[in-house]
């Protein structure tokens, strides 16, 4: 849940003042501020919170004998997150010689987990020496690992390939062979930044498009088109171009309004079925910010009401779609309402169900 993309710059400069933590920063930077590091670091915070609670519980005077562990949660957590907490707490309790049992007649040690705007508050409640004993610890939610969303059943093959706390404006496949990966446009702290990301999701290059000299916007928009090693970026009223080879040489120019009826932005994304070569159009509204959205893949030439539409629910509004070199697949950008992160999914049209 730590906003690694978003706070990457903040963490680096912040901790320059504290060399002791610089090592952690370096580790994060080496990981490209990517979610693998986030998860590991989040696990540490989670473990520390569990340890603190277990230590406090173990210090309760007169707490003896077997205890039945009961878990209550009030956060909107997935089963995976909840299970992770339970296992970690059990583990830490047992390390401190608290004898946990499944025996229903044993006195309970109840652990309650509540999400507040900034924290997860863990409360342990039990009885010892005829009195209620309560121990409470809190941990910053932003330090915890991202939740694993219970994925709804889908009929499109899809997988998440990148996530970032920074707003993702557009993404495209970067090429084949050694160059394979993604080119991504982010809106980070009111500037547009182009990323080159490898197949494992590690950030290989980071090119701020300062030359575009854009005004801050509440509705930032940009599209990129990779052509070999050269990236073209379309912005409102401007176009920029650069190559990964010479990232410092970003050239931007003001664009005249599109002539005739040439659209300024990309049109609907169309996939081609690998089974019969038929075309399928991606439909999404991307309208309101607070709803999970169902992507509809409908036979090209029909409306969203088609009976043969393939549906796939995403964990938030769909912000953009972009076709890939493989005509059967596309990239979908969404904002996960649970974590607040922006996510890129690769969807592929598969034969049958």
């Amino acid at each position: 849940m730590q906003p690694f993309g978003k706070t990457c710059s903040r963490i680096v400069s912040t901790h320059l003042l504290f060399p002791r933590i610089l090592i952690l920063v370096a580790m994060l930077a080496a990981g490209g501020c990517f979610s693998a590091s986030a998860s590991a670091d989040g696990d540490v915070s989670m473990r520390e919170a569990a340890q603190r609670l277990a230590e406090r519980v173990a210090g309760i005077p007169g707490l003896h004998g077997a205890l039945r562990f009961e878990w209550h949660q009030a956060g909107e957590w997935s089963e995976g997150e909840s299970k992770h907490w339970r296992e970690m707490l059990r583990d830490e309790f047992e390390k401190r010689s608290l004898n946990l049992t499944e025996d229903g007649t044993a006195p309970a040690i109840e652990v309650f987990a509540v999400e507040t705007p900034a924290q997860v508050v863990l409360t342990a409640k039990t009885r010892a020496a005829d009195r209620d004993e309560i121990r409470i610890v809190a941990v910053a939610r932003a330090l915890l690992p991202p939740g694993s969303l219970a994925a709804p059943p889908v009929r499109l093959e899809r997988r998440m390939i990148y996530e970032s706390a920074d707003r993702i404006l557009d993404a495209a496949s970067a090429g084949n062979g050694t160059e394979a990966g993604l080119a991504i446009l982010l809106y980070r702290d009111f500037e547009i930044v182009a990323l080159r990301v490898d197949l494992k999701g590690a950030v290989k290059q980071n090119v701020p498009l300062i030359a575009a000299n854009l005004k801050p916007s509440r509705n930032p928009r940009a599209e990129l088109t990779p052509r070999g090693g050269v990236i073209s970026v379309e912005l409102p009223g401007k176009a920029c171009e650069f190559s990964w080879e010479f990232p410092a040489d970003v050239k931007c120019h003001v664009e005249k309004p599109a002539a005739g009826d040439k659209p300024l932005w990309r049109g609907a994304t169309v996939l081609t079925s690998p089974c019969d070569g038929s075309n399928w159009k991606l439909l999404n509204s991307g309208s309101e910010p607070n709803a999970r959205e169902v992507l509809q893949v409908v036979p090209d030439g029909t409306s969203g009401q088609s009976n043969s539409a393939v549906l796939s629910e995403f964990p938030g509004p769909i912000l953009d779609t972009n076709g890939e070199q493989n005509p059967g697949s596309a990239l979908v950008i969404t904002r996960n309402l649970r974590t607040g992160n922006y996510e890129i999914y690769k969807i592929t049209l598969a034969c049958g169900n």
Binding site: H15, L17, A74, F112, V114, P117, A142, P216, R218, P289
Partner: protein, 511 residues
């Protein structure tokens, strides 16, 4: 112990999901138009120095102030602190010394640059004693007399705005809007018997560092009664209104878009400080046991409120479910029977004054009196001061509403105690949740404050308003909303962001 899967969070989510289904999909945000907002508060101040902690008018003032001023940081809906006027921050291991780097290039609405000294002046006022704020190169340093691990929560909420106070009395901000017009309430020219409500008009700040808001103007009318607001929303004379709890059900039945926050307002009883020593422990305990909070929430407030057992709500403290306030009339009567003579509430009535505005709170006061009577306690709701010269009997009990302002449970409880319990200060470092719980338990066990119900904020949002994405703690985020073009109430405007306006405007906000 009430530990339910956050009913209010669930309700909010459901409402939000429902909201998303309203209106036709329209992917491209539109710039332009005027957003019409109506509020119940009859007057508001945009100057945080004039705000009374916890008051409902302060809550309205804070809501409007966030249009004009920015804070150093914000908290997003996913528990992440986001840079606002500060781009970086760091602190020492104890959380006593914090350093913030200010965002470069930010300008106030009059075009002058934001400086570290602006932040120093603002934060020294808003954070108050216990904090020392000094300017540093490109930023500020905040030192606390005790560990302040919750400083970011504090800075992201409450009155911690960065403001420049000009000698002429106007206030400048760096926010997405600026005040262009402020009209006080006055007798109507057409009908002098009627009062023309106060109005504040905000204009989009084209140079806002955070990006120009979508709407051109936000027009706020103050002092609008609940029912009129409701009707105005129905007939399209308002885009955003406050919905009174007793109108929520009707609104839902009629298909209005109604959003609710997490519980924002505590309604509670407070024994008069001067009289608290006189009131016996048994009286306070007996009244506490006689109160039927469930009925207040479910009948009087039509299930649009939550019985309150604690001072801080669950969404803020995380431990409120540990408190219980079981109604026990039998025990209450036993305590009453054992009263010594001469105690108020036994032989002479305990006078209750309703300090919160509105009929709903008066009804709650009367309900308290009914509950007391069931336990043979005498509680009398005091009428407003009359014209006769006889001295009014002393007030023994107050019914008040407290609006939560801070995202720090420690800061909130501290402000509450200071305001409601005669300047009392919380001892020790209560940022530790276990210690904070112990402090709150001690306060509740004294029974000087008796929580009644928790009220969320209900907002009616017209279907032409898009991107309504208020935070669960009541930040409306009006700079992000946009309006349909097919709206007779709004001015037609092009779809793109307008060029810098040359319209003459007052860049300051006069409180």
């Amino acid at each position: 112990m009430r530990f339910t899967k956050s009913r209010w969070l669930a309700a909010t989510s459901a409402t939000m999901a429902a909201l998303a289904c309203f209106g036709a999909p329209a992917a491209t945000p539109r710039y332009g138009g005027t957003l019409h907002v109506k509020l119940r508060a009859s007057s508001v101040s945009l100057d945080p120095r004039e705000w009374t902690p916890g008051s409902l008018s302060t809550a309205a003032g804070e809501k409007l102030a966030s249009l004009v001023y920015d804070r150093l940081v914000t908290l997003d809906d996913h528990a992440r602190f986001q840079p606002a006027l500060a781009t970086e921050w760091s602190h020492d291991a104890a959380g006593r010394s914090w350093q913030f780097k200010l965002r470069p290039g930010v300008r106030f609405s009059d075009g002058t640059p934001l400086t570290p000294s602006d932040a120093v002046v603002s934060l020294q006022i808003s954070l108050g004693k216990g904090f020392e704020v000094t300017a540093a190169e490109n930023g500020v340093v905040i030192r606390s007399s005790r560990p302040a691990p919750d400083l970011l929560e504090q800075l992201a909420s409450g009155r911690n705005f960065i403001i420049r106070w000009r000698p002429d009395g106007t206030l400048l901000g760096t926010g997405p809007f600026l005040v262009t017009e402020s009209v006080a309430a006055a007798p109507s020219e057409a009908n002098p018997a009627a009062i023309r409500p106060a109005k504040i008009k905000f204009q989009a700040n084209d140079g806002a560092w955070s990006g120009r808001p979508f709407v051109d103007f936000v027009e706020v009318v103050l002092g609008e009664p609940a029912l009129r607001q409701f009707l105005d929303l129905q007939v399209g004379r308002a885009d955003i209104v406050e919905i009174a709890p007793d109108l929520v059900r009707k609104g839902r039945q009629e298909g209005l878009r109604i959003w609710n926050s997490a519980p924002q307002t505590l309604v509670a009883l407070r024994f008069e400080n001067a009289l608290a020593a006189l009131a016996s422990d048994q009286l306070r305990e007996a009244l506490w046991l006689a109160l039927d909070r469930d009925t207040m929430a479910s009948v009087l407030l039509q299930k649009e409120a939550q019985p309150a057992d604690s001072l801080l709500p669950q969404w803020l403290s995380g431990y409120a479910f540990l408190f219980e306030s079981p109604m026990n009339l039998q025990r209450s009567r036993e305590l009453r029977a054992a009263f010594p003579g001469g105690v108020q509430g036994a032989n002479q009535p305990l006078r209750l004054r309703v300090d919160a505005p509105g009929d709903l709170f008066k009804l709650m006061g009367e309900r308290v009196a009914v509950n007391a009577r069931q336990a043979n306690l005498l509680v009398q709701v005091a009428l407003p001061a009359g014209g006769n010269n006889s001295p009014a009997p002393a007030i023994g009990l107050h019914l008040f509403a407290w609006h939560y302002d801070s995202l720090s449970p420690h800061a909130e409880l501290e402000a509450f105690v200071k305001q409601m319990l005669d300047g009392t200060e919380l001892p020790g470092n209560t940022t530790d949740p276990e210690q904070l719980f112990a402090q709150e338990r001690r306060l509740l066990e004294e029974r000087r404050i008796l929580p009644l119900v928790l009220l969320p904020e209900y907002v009616g949002v017209r279907s032409n308003v898009h991107n309504w994405n208020a935070s669960p703690w009541g930040d409306w985020r009006l700079a992000d909303v946009w309006l349909d073009s097919e709206d007779p109430m709004t001015t037609q405007a092009p779809a793109g962001p307008p060029k810098n306006s040359s319209t003459a405007r007052n860049p300051g906000a006069r409180p």
